[in-house]
Amino acid sequence: MPNRTPLYDVHVALGAKMVDFAGWEMPIHYGSQIEEHHAVRRDAGMFDVSHMGVVDLHGARVRDVLRYLLANDVARLREPGKALYTCMLNESGGVIDDLIVYYMGDTWYRIVMNAATRGRDLAWFRRHGDSFGVAIEERDDLAMLAVQGPNARAKVHAVLGEQAGDAKTLGRFAAVDAGQDMFIARTGYTGEDGYEIMLPADDVEDLWHRLHAGAVTPCGLGARDTLRLEAGLALYGQDMDEDVSPLEAALDWTVAFEPADRDFVGRAALETQRAAGPSRELVGLVLEDQGVLRAHQRVLIDDGEGEITSGSFSPTLGRAIALARVPAGTGGRCRVEVRGRLLAARVVKPPFVRNGRAVIAL
């Protein structure tokens, strides 16, 4: 029996095509993935992301534990509601999961994790946190909506009225307690401005209907994937996993090597890799020939070879784009084996699209 979010019946009533995603029955689209994609780039769309794991960690030493378990440094978070994107690594520097961490208070952090890795993440937290007295509270009582797009914040403000008060002045990557157990974060996974809203599961259907009435377009996981790909955002399990380090996944910026005396799991392995220079890197590809790039296609560069980790058609650019792991130092042009033929592609630095606009030359 697959898991279902509190909005399952709403999705079905809207005519969504439901698919299995990491053991969850989720909407892939409600009719047209491309229309939903454009709605987010041009106006406002909403996604049910209640399948993601929300976990609160409590304890006097929770900060010390997270500084040891996460490659980014939660000590950078000083104001309640501030958020940080980070990888959690194994001893060899491979990525166990990528997470968003919110600082709620000195003894309380909130973590949002991928649905597929939740069990493993929790086991890791228990293994390292138990002896430090860290209490793990799984917030299955919460649902989560992502409302994204250039008009997303204004539409949320209009729908929430007074309850949106403090959200209006939120900076990026910060969150606020909006009362009635609603937590509004200015974060997302689309390359557009917007919110991720956590709220009691019992309240989410009402908010969904109010946003829908407020001209926010329901969007499925299909559009979420093409949006994040255009934004150059890595997807766990595809673009990185336990055999890939953040340095090989274009996630160097999420690793806090300073302060140098902070030990964290995977640090030694990353330092060795950094000193030698990683042999592989994650780059963007734009297909110059006609066709569509897909995960696992072979990439041929001069004397080397790589592989596409995520690929699709970019609705915003009207071209096929991809993320690919290739030998370090790759640039210029390459060829991709697409259905038995070698097609021409160009190596670019992601993102492909930011705030509705192409940020690479076509």
Binding site: Q33, G222, A320
Partner: protein
């Protein structure tokens, strides 16, 4: 149940075939097939003049989600291809039995049409798939 016009013939691999008055046949993919694939973003059609073998792949339709081969429902020579779907693949979604046709064939043997499924037969194929 999706739209399965009674005046067409069908292959199990989700192509439809329409016999035209001039003896040629028009081929496309069914509404059910386009619905399974989702928004089309790329279509690759055979060259005009090419001779197709029944049951062999001869074209590709790709949606945002996946690539799918199109199989020649009967043998024949390609008389024409629909350039409009190459330029605008979403025609396959919007009008799979009309503007979204893929190619026209001169059948090698008109009797092959009789081996294809009728609408009721194809509906059973679709029903079996969803179980």
């Amino acid at each position: 149940m999706s739209n399965v016009p009674a005046n067409l013939k069908y292959a199990k691999s989700h192509e439809w075939v329409r016999a035209e008055s001039d003896g040629s046949v028009t081929v496309g993919i069914t509404e059910h097939a386009q619905d399974l694939l989702g928004d089309m973003v790329y279509v690759e059609l055979p060259d005009v003049g090419r001779t197709l073998t029944a049951g062999k792949e001869c074209a590709v339709v790709e949606s945002v989600k996946a690539a799918s081969d199109v199989y020649a429902p009967i043998a024949g020579e390609v008389l024409a291809v629909n350039d409009a779907v190459t330029a605008g693949p979403d025609l396959v979604n919007k009008d799979p039995y009309g503007e979204g046709w893929l190619f026209r064939l001169k059948p090698a043997d008109v009797a092959e049409l009789d081996k294809l499924l009728d609408a009721a037969g194809y509906e059973r194929v679709v029903a079996d798939e969803s179980h």
